[in-house]
Each structure stands twice: as structure tokens, then as C-alpha cells.
């Protein structure tokens, strides 16, 4: 690839230390994000996708800690950056928006005061300049009558409007990388469509790179260029977005796609994945997915596979594609089946 890589995460490990016990929330995550592109990190609850995002911005709170790996942002390893350096990167070069805009906005300050604070801290703008820029930002994110809205408190705005305000604040310093952690999960679909369209437009306009963290494969399909599927703290499959949907290789990715009830086609019977996500305190020794995988063999139960090339497009962490695997020859040849 000749594209410029803006973010290169290598073997990131983040653990929580509770009662002398290490919970490996993120356990060796690697991915690359080319400039101006969007990578989706998908997974179900407990897969470690949000912790990955928080680790990149070093926003983890105790007892969480990055215990290994590198986060190379434009050539700098963020895991080694000092607190001061990381503060100058946060907000300026990398911004984040969260799922619940009500809890990320301060209820006792007006929208304008909060945007101005961001601009003051990061760009040293004074009150008047801050106000002017604030109105401009609210206009950019499509808030009608921004002059009035900027004087309002968060509770006076609807959920969609609040999320727009969050995006406006995140964009205040023209970041090069935007991390969106489930930005539309709390919103209604018609509002979700507005916000996703807004993020796409702004990305094109401003040339931002985006990390989209979501559990919704529909959102992934419509916004991402590349996809990393996470399970049990690990990336189990990485590919470009078309390949993930057209030719997924990992049994978990396939299972996830087979479980989605579609609004656009009729599916007689959904094919769910049996069992439930393992507790991070009690991770299987072998492949994290083995206990739920319909194709698991003894090898899968005992040894953890590496994330390796399976085709030109997919990186997959699965034994099926290795010579050592001795399960169902049909599966070995064609891979797990899509039913939808």
C-alpha cells in the first residue's frame, strides 16, 4: 500500500488489575488506518472495542493500564508519550465522540460555554472569537439557528442535537483522527441517518480519518472502508469492508452476519451463535471463540491461533486455514457458510 498510514496499532494490550487478578480486556490488537479512511471496529459487548479506543487516547482510568504494544500516530508512539504530550494531542489532533451525548455534556453549562472552553484550552481563543467560532461550528454540523442554540443548555436540546453539539466540539480543532464510539446507538434511525451522513460529509470536507466503533453491521457497511472484527479482546478478522461482507472467513464473523435479522430481505430462520460471550475473567485458553464455534477441534480448544493471511484480502485468526487443522474437510475447503 502506498497510502500514508496515520495510525498504526501494533499488538496493543490493555488490562484491568482487580484484586491481584489481571483481566485482559484488549489482548494483542493490531490494525493500520490509512489517512482519510474509516476503519470500523466491530464486536459485541465485552469484546474490547471501546477499551481499544480509550487506550489510543490514553483515557483509561485505574485499574486499567496499557501493558504492552505500540500506538503509532504519525510516527509517534502514544504509549510512550508524556502526559503533557498526550494532552496536546487530545482534542487537537485526535478527538473522540461518545455514545451518550447527555452524559458527555455538562448539564450546568450552556452549549456555547462548553465549546468555548474547548477552543480556549486548545487554541487560546478569547470569549468573542470563541463565540464566533462556536456559531460557525454549530452551523457546520447542521444545527438550525445556531445563534440561539449556542445559549441553550444541553437539556433543552434533543438527542440528535446533542450529538451534533458533541461532534461540533470534537471538530473544534480540526482533528486529523476522529474516534466515534457508538455515536448513533442511542439515537432513532432517522436521526442516526442524519448523523452518519454528517460524519461522512465532514470527513470528505476535512480529510479526517475515522475510527468507527460499533456493534451494528449496518453502520459498518455504510460508513467504513476497512473493518476489524473483535472477539474476546482480540482482532479475529481484518479486511476491507466489501470482503468482510462478501467473503468473510472467520466463523465468528460469519456467525455474526448470519444472526442479523434483515430489514431488506426475508430470512426464514436466523442462525444464531450458540452460547454467550465468555467472561474476561475466564477466557478460554485456545481460540477465544472455540467454545461457541461449530467447527472447533481439540487444536482450537488448546492453542491460540495467530492472525494470519488467509487470502490477499483477509487477515484471519483461525485454525481452519492452517495445515494443522483436521476438522470437517468441507469447511476447510469452502470456509463457514453464509446463510443470509
Amino acid at each position: 500500500m502506498s497510502e500514508e498510514i496515520i495510525l498504526d496499532v501494533k499488538d496493543l494490550r490493555t488490562s484491568f488489575f482487580v484484586d491481584d487478578f489481571e483481566v485482559k480486556a484488549v489482548d494483542g490488537v493490531s490494525f493500520k488506518l490509512p489517512k482519510g479512511k474509516t476503519i470500523g471496529i466491530v464486536g459485541e459487548s465485552g469484546s474490547g472495542k471501546s477499551i481499544t479506543a480509550l487506550s489510543i487516547l490514553r483515557l483509561l482510568e485505574k485499574p486499567g493500564k496499557i501493558v504492552g504494544g505500540e500506538i503509532n500516530f504519525k510516527g509517534n508512539d502514544l504509549t510512550k508519550a508524556s502526559e503533557q504530550e498526550i494532552r496536546s494531542i487530545r482534542g487537537n489532533e485526535i478527538s473522540m465522540i461518545f455514545q451518550e451525548p447527555m452524559t458527555s455534556l455538562n448539564p450546568v453549562y450552556t452549549v456555547g460555554q462548553q465549546i468555548r472552553e474547548t477552543l480556549k484550552v486548545h487554541q487560546g481563543l478569547g470569549k468573542e472569537q470563541g463565540m464566533e467560532k462556536g456559531v460557525e461550528l454549530l452551523k457546520l454540523v447542521g444545527i438550525p439557528s445556531p445563534q440561539e442554540r449556542i445559549k441553550q443548555y444541553p437539556h433543552e436540546l434533543s438527542g440528535g442535537m446533542r450529538q451534533r453539539v458533541m461532534i461540533a466540539m470534537a471538530l473544534a480543532c480540526n482533528p486529523e483522527l476522529l474516534i466515534a464510539d457508538e455515536p448513533t446507538t442511542a439515537l432513532d434511525v432517522t436521526i442516526q441517518a442524519q448523523i452518519l451522513e454528517l460524519i461522512n460529509e465532514l470527513q470528505e470536507e476535512l480529510g479526517m480519518s475515522v475510527i468507527m466503533i460499533t456493534h451494528d453491521m449496518g453502520v459498518v457497511a455504510e460508513t467504513c472502508d476497512y473493518v476489524a472484527v473483535m472477539y474476546g479482546g482480540k482482532v479475529v478478522e481484518y479486511a476491507d469492508v466489501k470482503t468482510i461482507f462478501k467473503d468473510p472467513k472467520h466463523p465468528y464473523t460469519v456467525g455474526l452476519l448470519n444472526s442479523i435479522p434483515r430489514h431488506d430481505i426475508d430470512v426464514d430462520e436466523l442462525e444464531p451463535i450458540r452460547g454467550s460471550v465468555p467472561s474476561p475473567k475466564n477466557m478460554p485458553n485456545g481460540c477465544r471463540f472455540a467454545p461457541r464455534c461449530p467447527f472447533a477441534t481439540d487444536l482450537c480448544m488448546e492453542e491460540l491461533p495467530d492472525l494470519g493471511d488467509v487470502s490477499d484480502e483477509n487477515l484471519v485468526r483461525c485454525w481452519i486455514y492452517s495445515e494443522r487443522w483436521d476438522g470437517d474437510p468441507e469447511v476447510k475447503e469452502h470456509g463457514p457458510k453464509r446463510t443470509t
Partner: protein, 337 residues
């Protein structure tokens, strides 16, 4: 086949008063549900969809009489539920059960699974005391849990398993109608699929009728026979599943369907992105409530309230409440954006 009407909701209205002012008088009303009429046949699944604040959950609560409706009638099995007193209604809830969204909040953390299930059996007196344990185990197995788990507490289960306990509790009293209020929304997709399949299996086995309240149209397409679309307290469209998804007529339904992200990056589709937010139900727009966001709205829509109508281009039983169905269908009226 002549189907039996199990539930008939007529002109249901649910207004919540807003108290305020100096003497705490009622200053206004939230018109959460405003003149809703529909019916459910025995053994079918009817879904109510819509965005937050459209009144879908309030409709479900009114049927259970968890809130007392302002006006209208609710007939269940030929009997008017609204004429029953508290005691009689409590008995009637044996036939109408509910499964809520949050399996963490709807189970008592201090009770074991057995106690949770036995309490339901005791209140409705459906199983004699000495048979309750046996029945609880049977119920657990029906919903895909193990007999050994009967003495455990809710916190020992995962989210999907807790939702199964909620389902077992609803089944404990052998209901006819189960209202599922966002019953699978809190679950991860892989687990959500398990619960959806379970609900379908139980419906076949016990001839259950479901009123499914949901916002996820993928889930709705999968589980429903008929679908009701609500917007700001009103029914805007009602149809069998196939007609609704393949031939939607109301501009709101069309926008709602087009707004859902499709899990297929190569799917080509035209997206209708609605402008603005849902207006407040306190002073809902006059005329058609959707006119403030509708790409086809005309002057008439601001003043005249549309009725549900069936036209030639729609299947039998398919109704939509829009003044301009014909003109939009023929292309005489075009979208403003």
C-alpha cells in the same frame, strides 16, 4: 379461514397531564397516544414500530392497564378491559403477559429463579403448591435453560439468559397474549437471534399471540405477520409484513425504511434523510403530524388530519394515513428534498 379476533383496540387515547403553575393545575397534556385503532387475531404477531416518543410503549402499557387510558375501548376476547375493576383486571393479566426490555431491571435480584417463577404461579393460582418446582424446571427447559439453574439468582446469568427467565415467567401463567416491549433490544445480535428463534418456537408450540413493540425494523420483519407504524401518537400505516416492507405508502414509513443501515456495502439504495427532529407531543403539529418533516407536505397537510385509507395500489388490509398517496404514487407530487 375466519380468524378469531383476540384483541381489539378502538380509538385509544392516552393523555398525560402536565401539572404546573401556581396551584399545580393541569396546564397541558402530553398526547402520547391519540386515537389509535387496531386489532390482533389469535396466533399472529403484530408489531408496533416507531421512534422514541411515538407512543408504542404507552399503547402496550394501556392494554395491560398499567396506565389507565384517557379514552377508547380495549376488548380482549370479547370483554372490555377498561370496565374491569382492579381485582378483575389482575385476574385478566393471567391471559396477557409482558416481557420488558431490560432483563436486569425486571427481575428481583433477591429472588432465585424458582421464587420468581413460583410467585407468578401463586398470584394467578395456576399450579398447586407442591407441583410448582416441577413446573418451574419444565419452564426453564422450555426456554433453553438447565434444571440445575433453578435455584440460582439473576446475577448469575448473562443478559440473554435473563431474558429467557423473563420469558419463562411470562409463560408460567399460560397466557394467550404476550406483549414484548423491546424484548430483544438490549441483547447482542448473536444472542438476540437465539431469543427471536425461541419466541417463534414458543408461538408455534403454545399458539401464542404476540404484540411486539420494537424500533428495530430488521427484528420486526423477521418476527411479524402484520406491522403498525406509529408517529407522534398516531398510526400512520398498518399492513401485512410483506406489503409494508415491499410497498410502503406513507412518506414516513418510506423514510424510516430507507434510514436503516443495510448490512451490505454493495446494496444500492436511495436514502431519504428527514430534516429536523420529532416535534413535541405536548403541542403536536395540527393536520398531519408528520407535515413538519414530510418532503411532500402541502398546505392541506397543515390543516386537515388524514384518515387511514386503503387504495387500489395497496393490498387488502393495507392502510396508510396520508392525503397524497395517489399523487405520490403517480408521480404528480415530487419530494421537496
Amino acid at each position: 379461514m375466519a380468524q378469531k379476533e383476540l384483541l381489539k383496540v378502538n380509538n385509544l387515547k392516552q393523555y398525560f397531564p402536565i401539572k404546573g403553575g401556581f396551584l399545580g393545575r393541569t396546564v397541558n397534556h402530553v398526547k402520547a397516544v391519540d386515537d389509535v385503532t387496531f386489532n390482533i387475531y389469535e396466533g399472529e404477531t403484530v408489531s408496533v414500530v416507531g421512534e422514541s416518543g411515538c407512543g408504542k410503549s404507552t399503547t402496550g402499557r394501556a392494554i395491560l392497564r398499567l396506565d389507565d387510558p384517557t379514552d377508547g375501548t380495549i376488548e380482549f376476547n370479547g370483554e372490555d378491559l377498561l370496565s374491569l375493576n382492579k381485582k378483575e383486571m389482575r385476574k385478566r393479566r393471567k391471559d396477557i403477559q409482558v416481557i420488558f426490555q431490560d432483563p436486569y431491571a425486571s427481575l428481583n435480584p433477591r429472588q432465585t429463579v424458582f421464587q420468581i417463577l413460583a410467585e407468578a404461579m401463586e398470584i394467578q393460582d395456576v399450579v398447586p403448591k407442591d407441583k410448582r418446582r416441577e413446573r418451574a424446571i419444565e419452564l426453564l427447559e422450555t426456554v433453553g435453560l438447565n434444571a440445575e439453574q433453578v435455584d440460582r439468582f439473576p446475577h448469575e446469568f448473562s443478559g440473554g439468559q435473563r431474558q429467557r427467565i423473563g420469558i419463562a415467567r411470562a409463560l408460567a401463567v399460560e397466557p394467550k397474549l404476550i406483549i414484548c416491549d423491546e424484548a430483544v433490544s438490549a441483547l447482542d445480535v448473536s444472542v438476540q437471534a437465539q431469543v427471536l428463534n425461541l419466541l417463534k418456537k414458543l408461538q408455534r408450540e403454545f399458539n401464542l399471540t404476540f404484540l411486539f413493540i420494537a424500533h428495530d425494523l430488521g427484528v420486526v420483519r423477521h418476527i411479524s405477520d402484520r406491522v403498525i407504524v406509529m408517529y407522534l401518537g398516531k398510526v400512520v400505516e398498518i399492513a401485512d409484513k410483506k406489503s409494508l416492507f415491499d410497498n410502503p405508502q406513507h412518506p414516513y414509513t418510506k423514510a424510516l425504511l430507507s434510514a436503516i443501515p443495510t448490512p451490505d456495502p454493495e446494496a444500492k439504495k436511495e436514502r431519504i434523510v428527514l430534516q429536523g427532529d420529532v416535534p413535541s407531543p405536548i403541542n403536536p403539529p395540527t393536520g398531519c403530524r408528520f407535515h413538519t418533516r414530510c418532503p411532500f407536505a402541502t398546505e392541506m397537510c397543515k390543516t386537515d388530519t388524514p384518515e387511514l385509507r386503503n387504495l387500489d395500489n395497496m393490498a387488502e388490509g393495507h392502510q396508510a394515513s396520508c392525503h397524497h398517496i395517489e399523487k405520490i404514487f403517480s408521480g404528480d407530487l415530487v419530494s421537496k428534498y
